[in-house]
């Protein structure tokens, strides 16, 4: 399943995995600011950002195609706005909108695929990010597993009983499945929450202390900052 794949990727070993999560978060932040403030006419800059991401993905020993496919999941949302912009007579801005959302999605995916969840949420905590936000991220991440697993089981069960029926059957079955999926996921999530409470959970995941920020991490940050800045200002 997709979520399992990303979790597995995040536990790999590569030069990028070895970087301090705080360094990767800082670089992600700078990258996102650079991409989002790049004017639509600077199409070469978007190519350069993409090249930067490809180098980083290679460095992390992650599959480029798999990453791109998952990052493309953001496209239906941004494509809606891009289409509206296109119809309003600004195709370059529409293109930039799609490029920005794809590149941002890809960068965020690269960060979570090269850093275990516990490590990057600990980094957020060390930056004094609101605890509620961190808690919500951790719960959403865990409950995504719950929903995905439940959906997988129900899909198999539905396929086993589908026979040769297609079309309307698929649609009506999917609508029914969706309702049951949320009811069952809620039930299971409730069970997980009970299990957490019974092991002393009191509203906060206890983070591991962050490792020392090394010179190599500082070097990584400076190089990436310089790269983003150069693309943003020169292209």
């Amino acid at each position: 399943m997709h979520h399992l794949v990303i979790d597995r990727w995040s536990r790999g070993s590569s030069p990028l995995h070895a970087r301090d999560p705080r360094a990767k978060l800082a670089v992600l932040l700078v990258f996102l600011v650079a991409v989002s403030t790049t004017p639509p006419r600077a199409q070469l800059a978007f190519v350069a950002y993409a090249a930067l991401l490809i180098v980083a993905i290679r460095l992390a020993h992650l599959p480029l195609r798999g990453m791109a496919g998952r990052a493309a999941l953001v496209l239906p949302f941004s494509a809606t706005f891009a289409l509206i912009t296109w119809w309003s007579g600004d195709p370059l801005r529409a293109l930039a909108l799609a490029e920005k959302s794809f590149l941002s999605g890809m960068a965020a995916l690269l960060m979570v695929s090269s850093t275990p969840l516990t490590a990057w949420t600990a980094a957020l905590e060390s930056w004094r990010a609101p605890r509620m936000l961190i808690l919500v991220i951790q719960f959403v991440y865990r409950y995504l597993f719950v929903i995905a697993e439940q959906a997988q089981r129900m899909r198999w069960a539905a396929l086993c009983r589908r026979g040769t029926q297609k079309g309307y059957f698929d649609f009506s079955a999917a609508a029914g499945l969706l309702g049951v999926l949320f009811a069952r996921s809620w039930q299971r999530a409730d069970g997980i929450y009970h299990a957490m409470l019974s092991r002393g959970f009191h509203g906060r995941f206890v983070p591991s202390p962050p490792p020392p920020f090394r010179a190599s991490d500082a070097m990584f940050c400076s190089t990436c900052f310089a790269g983003c800045l150069a693309i943003r200002l020169l292209l």
């Binding site: 399992l4 979790d7 597995r8 536990r11 275990p116 969840l117 516990t118 865990r142 597993f145 697993e149 299971r188 069970g191 997980i192 009970h194 299990a195 957490m196 409470l197 019974s198 092991r199 002393g200 959970f201 009191h202 206890v206 591991s208 202390p209």
Partner: protein
């Protein structure tokens, strides 16, 4: 003998109006193992969810002499370890080691001490080889062992096991019985499995419609309520 659990007049009604528990009186002595029998929906699981405050009904509950109340809840949760029926609900951290260390960290142990304790209990349950594995990649028997390790890592005085043999194949079931026999904690076993109860429990309690309908030696209760598959 010291009372590990003392429950008096426990009643609980779910939000939909179902009266799940209707005046339960129960006790468990230190080191004792009791099996809870009863049909599905008879109130067994609802009852054990009260033992560490996951549900709160009317009546009184004392764990190791400590009354269950808001200010004692955290202490009591370290004394009563609940192993849930479905291990997938219990294993929610990304790796086995992190999952087992979750409880000790919540108890306030330092990350180093929590990790050391987690390693020790994983070795004790025979799962030391799986420290860095993702829980969802384990077999049902291995998951159950890790779930038990997660509870043992909190150093509880009482173990509550809800249908511990569900999803287990015969060898995994045998291993589990051997493991549980070797644990010194007092145990409450919620089960339909009369053989498991005979192997582990000294006493049995039979639940029926939210009440205790009978109590005695395991063999006596099994015969009295015809509680066997064949």
């Amino acid at each position: 003998m010291t009372r590990a659990i003392q429950v008096r007049g426990l009643r609980y009604r779910y939000a939909d109006g179902t009266q799940a528990l209707n005046g339960i009186d129960f006790h468990l002595d230190a080191g004792e193992s009791v099996a809870l029998f009863g049909a599905n929906g008879s109130g067994k699981t609802t009852f054990v969810l009260h033992l560490n405050g996951l549900l709160r009904g009317e009546g009184s509950i004392e764990i190791c002499g400590l009354p269950l109340a808001d200010d004692t809840l955290q202490d009591l949760r370290s004394k009563v370890g609940v192993v849930f029926q479905d291990s997938d609900e219990q294993l929610f951290m990304p790796t086995v080691l992190e999952d087992v260390a979750f409880g000790p960290l919540n108890l306030g142990l330092s990350p180093e001490d929590a990790t050391t304790r987690a390693r020790t209990v994983l070795k004790r349950v025979g799962m030391a080889h799986a420290l860095d594995r993702a829980p969802y990649h384990l077999s049902a028997g291995e998951k159950k062992r890790v779930a038990i390790a997660g509870v043992l890592a909190m150093d509880p005085e009482i173990l509550v096991l809800d249908e511990p043999t569900t999803f287990l194949d015969p060898p995994a079931r045998r291993d589990l019985v051997t493991l549980l026999r070797g644990l010194p904690q007092a145990k409450v076993l919620v089960t339909h499995d009369a053989d498991l109860a005979r192997a582990l429990a000294t006493r049995a309690v039979f639940f029926e419609q939210g009440r205790i309908a009978g109590e005695g030696e395991v063999i006596e209760i099994v015969q009295r309520f015809h509680w066997e598959y064949s």
